[in-house]
């Protein structure tokens, strides 16, 4: 890792308080929205009495040779509007996206325009006000908005993930401003998502995902699980987002209750979706998702992008699933009590992509 010089703090002569906000714009520090000027006292308050010292490294990005300290992350947290009690969540997210298997360099540079989607489980949700009810992904909730925003500001300001530098997103999507929400654990018919991974209910975690834009899955009429999940499977098999990567389905309470009333377990739902979110191999080829042959012969679920791109007899009889196994489909619950509107998020990009990473939140 190359040594990185710490940038000096910046003195701003203020004739009125609004100058500090404009100074941040002029410095190129914002995401396009106004930021809270990161004064020393505000930044110190973020880390004071917390889990990390100012010089502790919270995120290492080896491809770019950069390390993000707690103080740098705190400066971005102030700008985003975070309160100090949100910072443990920020630190957990940075640790999660810094996991080697998350391939942060590729995720944040790719033309695919991935969002760092953040899902929070455990008691911290109610402790600091992470919202998990109606308007789940929408604006209006400080913890959700500012934690998500902090992560994007860190990527921009500390890792050069900026259009014109290292962010080559063709379009990106609005989740790049902020995409952070809680799971509605009490409404879910299953154990909380993090508990399904082996955490205890008393632990708080973040789960990060390199996510493409979500698909709304609308179904109001069908009461039976097969009918309901058929709509999800159809959405998940869309050619534009079909890949051998992972999926996240966030069931709105209305849908989750129907599945719970029918007694369907989490694994049962995963298996149904995996078996039915499929396209024929012929469709996959017509969609341009099969590239020129290497020396791969036959059909392999994880290598279907590397074989003969020409439609062959029998390709209509081969079924290509989304992902490689039912466990590639993560299920969560959240949103308002009314409305048959759930969401499906595909993982970024055209192939196996990167896994969802869950990280415990350390609190002082």
């Amino acid at each position: 890792m190359r040594p990185v010089a710490m940038t000096p703090d910046r003195d701003v002569e203020l004739s009125d308080p609004w100058r500090a906000i404009e100074a941040c714009y002029e410095a190129g520090w914002t995401d396009g929205l106004p930021v809270v000027p990161p004064t020393e006292s505000l930044v110190d308050a973020i880390t004071a009495g917390g889990v990390w010292d100012a010089d502790d490294v919270l995120l290492r990005e080896p491809a770019r040779g950069l390390e993000v300290t707690a103080r740098k992350a705190a400066a971005n947290a102030v700008m985003a509007g975070c309160r100090p009690e949100y910072f443990p969540v920020v630190g957990a997210v940075l640790a999660a996206i810094g996991a080697p298997e998350f391939e942060l360099h590729a995720v944040s540079a790719s033309t695919g325009g991935a969002v760092i989607l953040i899902a929070v489980n455990g008691p911290i949700r109610d402790e600091i006000g992470i919202h998990y009810k109606e308007n789940l992904f929408g604006p209006g909730f400080r913890a959700n908005a500012t934690i998500g925003r902090t992560v994007r500001l860190v990527l921009r300001n500390c890792l050069a993930a900026i259009p014109g530098k290292l962010d080559k997103s063709a379009q990106g999507w609005a989740g790049k401003y902020a995409m952070c929400f809680g799971e509605d654990e009490s409404t879910s018919p299953w154990e909380p998502y993090h508990v399904s991974l082996g955490y205890s209910p008393s632990q708080s975690t973040v789960t990060v995902m390199a996510a493409e834009s979500g698909h709304n899955v609308l179904n109001h009429a069908l009461p039976d699980p097969e009918g309901l999940l058929g709509t999800f499977a159809d959405t998940m098999s869309a050619l534009g987002s079909l890949s051998s990567g992972r999926s996240l389905v966030v069931f709105a309470p209305e849908h989750a209750r129907k599945l719970g009333a029918a007694g369907w377990s989490r694994p049962q739902v995963q298996e149904y979706l995996f078996e039915h979110a499929t396209r024929t191999y012929a469709d996959v080829k017509r969609g341009g998702k099969v590239e020129a042959a290497g020396n791969v012969t036959g059909f392999h679920p994880t290598q279907w992008m590397e074989t003969d791109p020409q439609v062959q007899p029998g390709d209509n009889d081969i079924s290509v699933p989304r992902g490689t196994c039912p466990d590639d489909i993560a299920l969560m619950v959240g949103g308002g009590d009314a409305g048959g509107h759930s969401s499906f998020f595909p993982t970024w990009s055209r192939d196996r992509s990167v896994p969802l990473i869950t990280q415990e939140i350390l609190q002082p």
């Binding site: 190359r2 940038t7 003195d11 002569e13 020129a292």
Partner: protein, 94 residues
């Protein structure tokens, strides 16, 4: 009134790096090709290498298809290929 803002950015710093020495020609050179596995990457790299062999004296080419297409070649991959080649060509773009 003056206030101090903590700079939230992290620009790179450190000593400037220098290019590896160049050979005066590719006579007898072995050309390493670093492929990211994307469409036509191998084809384009191989054809450029063939041009260097046919017209500029290079002797051979060696193809490395990275273990992780989205990230740079692992240090051990770099070390292994560097031991066998005179120069490399890498390609970036979708």
């Amino acid at each position: 009134m003056t206030i101090t803002l903590v700079d939230p950015t992290l620009p790179p710093a450190g000593a400037a790096a220098t290019l590896a020495p160049r050979p005066v020609s590719l006579e007898g050179a072995v050309i390493g090709l670093v492929s990211n596995g994307k469409t036509h990457a191998r084809r384009i790299l191989s054809r450029v290498a063939q041009n260097l062999i046919d017209s500029h004296g290079a002797r051979d080419s060696v193809l490395l298809v990275k273990s992780t297409a989205n990230l740079p070649a692992a240090p051990e991959e770099v070390e292994a290929l560097a031991a066998d080649v005179t120069a490399i060509i890498a390609a970036i773009g979708d």
